[in-house]
Structures are given as C-alpha cells and as structure tokens.
C-alpha cells in the first residue's frame, strides 16, 4: 500500500456488535488500515495515551451514548489535551440518535469533522474514509 504515515481507525462504541460490523467492513474495503476498538470513552483515552504518535493519522468513529465516559465526556477530555491541536486526529460522531440537539451539540465542537447516523453503509463509510486514506 505504501502510505507514508500510519493510518489508524479507532472505534469507540459500547456495542461490541458494532465493533464486529465496522471492523469487518473496514477490513474488507481498506485492508491496510489498522482498526482498534474501545467500549467507552475512557478506554479510548487510555488507548491514545499509550499509543499516540505524532507520526500517525487517527480516524475516530465516536458513539455518544456509552457508559463510564460517554461521547461528550470523551470530546471534552480530548479538547483539553494538546494532541488535538496536532491535526492528526479526525473525529466523526457516529450515533444511532436522530436527535437534532445531539447533532447540533456535536457540531459545536470545532474539531468534530461530521456527524454520521448509524448504521454506516459501505458507501457512507467510503465517503468518510476515502479522502483521508488517499491523502
């Protein structure tokens, strides 16, 4: 594949079925991407603390309703971290909620690239990942 930077997808969702679904889909469409998954926001932050590298490109698919650290708490926490300013973490809020308030609230975080509605079809996954993968 020969990408200069290491591209990494991080799934944050409390539903393990989605881990299965997303991981399979991504592996199928972009076999070169490495995919990790966390069951809630706190685990995801810990993952980033351990594995973050400025050399890498991170694509975060973030659910909102989760136990321990929900999506908002994750966004608030990462906002405080300096790494968000390195511009190598792209966050998509992916939720089954159709609540307009949730969508507005997500967009209020400047660094949230977009909000996507579950389930993600191959097409919508493509439209999100393609530009990032081909950079």
């Amino acid at each position: 594949m020969g990408w200069r930077v290491n591209k990494h997808v991080l799934l944050i969702d409390d539903d393990p079925i989605f881990h299965v679904i997303f991981t399979r889909m991504i592996n199928k469409v972009y076999p070169g991407l490495s995919v990790s998954s966390s069951l809630h926001g706190k685990l995801a932050l810990e993952f980033l603390n351990r594995n973050y590298s400025i050399e890498n490109q991170y694509i975060v698919l973030l659910d909102i309703n989760m136990p321990v650290y929900n999506g908002w708490q994750f966004l608030d926490a990462i906002k405080k971290k300096g790494i968000i300013r390195n511009n190598n973490i792209t966050i998509f809020v992916v939720t089954s909620s159709t609540d307009l308030d949730d969508i507005k609230r997500a967009k209020a975080y400047g660094f949230v690239k977009d909000t996507l509605s579950k389930p993600l079809s191959v097409n919508s996954l493509n439209s999100v990942l393609q530009p990032l993968v081909n950079e």
Partner: protein, 340 residues
Amino acid sequence: MIKDSLSLSILIIEDNLGDFVLLEDHLLEKFEAIRIFHEESFESALVTIKSDKKIDIILLDLVLPDLHGEVLAEKIQQNTSDIPIIILTGYTDIDLARKILSLGVSDFLIKDEINPEILYKTIIYSLERKSYIRGLNKTKKTYQDLFNLSPQPMWLYDTSSLFFLDVNQAAIVKYGYTLEEFRSMTLKDIRPKNQIRYLEDSVNEHGLKGVNGFAGVFVHRLRSGKNIYVEIYSSDIEYNDKWVRLVLANDVTDKLEYTKKIEEQNVKLKDIAWTQSHVVRAPLSRILGIINLIELESFNSEDLPYLINQLKLSGNEMDVIVRNIVSEAKLLNLNGLESE
C-alpha cells in the same frame, strides 16, 4: 291642534279652586291621556303621594292651609323620592321660589304667566331632566356594581399607609375577612411574613413609576392560613378626591398547579421521545448494520449463523423496548385522567 298622548298621572296641590280649574284646563288642552288628581292640603296630598296612584309629576302651590313656603316644599320633597315637583307661585314670592329651587325642586312657574304652552314645556322638561338624573345615578350604580359584584377580588388601598379603603364581595369571600376587618388591615396582613420585604419593594417601585396593569404574581395569605398565588393587576384611580390604587387579584393557584402537572407530563413525553431516538434506534441500527455486513460478506460466509443470531437478539431487544414505550404512554394517559 295635536295633543300629546303621553300618559301621565299629575297631582295638583292647590287650595284655590279657581287656580286648579285653570290649570286643569291648560293641561287637558295639551295632554290627551292624563289623569289629574287634586288635593287641597299638605296632609291630604301626602296620602295621595303615598298611595298606589303612581304620580309622575306634582304641581305645588306654595301656600296651603296646613303648611306653606320652604317647609312645605321640603316636606313634599322628602316624601317623594324622584317625582319632579313644579312650584306654583305669585310675583311676590319669586325670591323664595328661587331658594326652593336650590333644594332640588324641578322648576317654578309664576301663576299669572301660566298658559298651556309654558305649562306643557315645563312639565316635559322636568320629566326629561329627572330621567337624565335617574340615568346618571344608574350609571354610577353600574360602576359601583362592577366593583362590588365583580367575580374577581378587587380592592382599593392607600399607597402611603397601605390600608385597605374598600374591598369587594369577591375579595371578602376569597380572603375570609369581613369588610370591617379589611378596613382595619393593611396589605401586609394578607402576605406571608417572608414576603413583606418583597411587597414593600414592589409597592415603592410601582408607586414611583405609576405603573398600571400587570404587577406580577404574588403569594397571599388567606384568613384560614392557606397561601395562594395571585396575579395582581393594579391602576391608580381617584377616589374621594384622593389618588389611590385599585387592585384586581386573580387566584392562579390552580392554574399554576395545572401548569406544573403539564410540565411533568412534558418531561415524561420528552423521555419517551428520547427513548425513541436513542434506545429504539440502537438495536435497529445494529440490525441494519449486520445486514450491510452480510451483503458485503456474501451469503456463504462462515460467520453467517453468528450474524443471524445477532439479528434475532436485536429484534427481541427492540420488541421489549417498544412494549415499554407503549406501557409508559398508557401510564401517562392514566395520570392525565386521575387529575381531572
């Protein structure tokens, strides 16, 4: 000549028969439907006035055998509430007649000048004037009734001493104090102790600005000790040559109670909407996600039994959620009925 068809009962109090006959002639010349009663003394006139003859107008000679002058006019007047009285007098008594006029007698006529025209006009004018005054009194009473009989509690208070000046029937019923009790009370006496500072601030503020209209929602204390919420409307009015404030109090305790109930129901409805948005869509989006994956994978994938089992679990989960929503909505209906 056209005669007036007005039906009138006229009492002529006149001891001089000649004068009476003349007056009778004049009257009959102008009115075709009148009844004329004749009395020659104060005492006998009084009997007729108090009888059921329904006298519409009185022609009164100022000199009668048993009474005369000012006293006579006064006594007749005291015994007739609003019957117009026309004094009949001679030239010599004009000053007296004028004086009597100021007591409220309708008009006076100089005997020597009376002719049918003048008599007719005087009678008609006197009747008109009386009915106008009657109308004015009625209007005054209507306005008093608007205050006294209003279904909304109202009162007048002195803005400097805060004493109640007048209180209407609805306020007496609502607050449980008699009118006399109210008159010895100030606004502070219908406030809970902790609200008195608030009252003083509000009175001062409105006094300075002279604000009319809606003043706010306040807590008032009834004689029974129960607190109620009232919307207060006030405006400054002139009362017995003094500027005072008129207050209308609208008990909104029940309204606020209903609003609270509606708000509680809204919270429940929001909960249901939230559930719809988040909880129902979670398994649904999982089902759709699995289907996407199956499409991508091909149907002979070794994971197919696993994925189908997940579909079944998600379907069951959704079933439970939808049942819960239905029973929650039913609960909401029951609560609504109980409060009615």
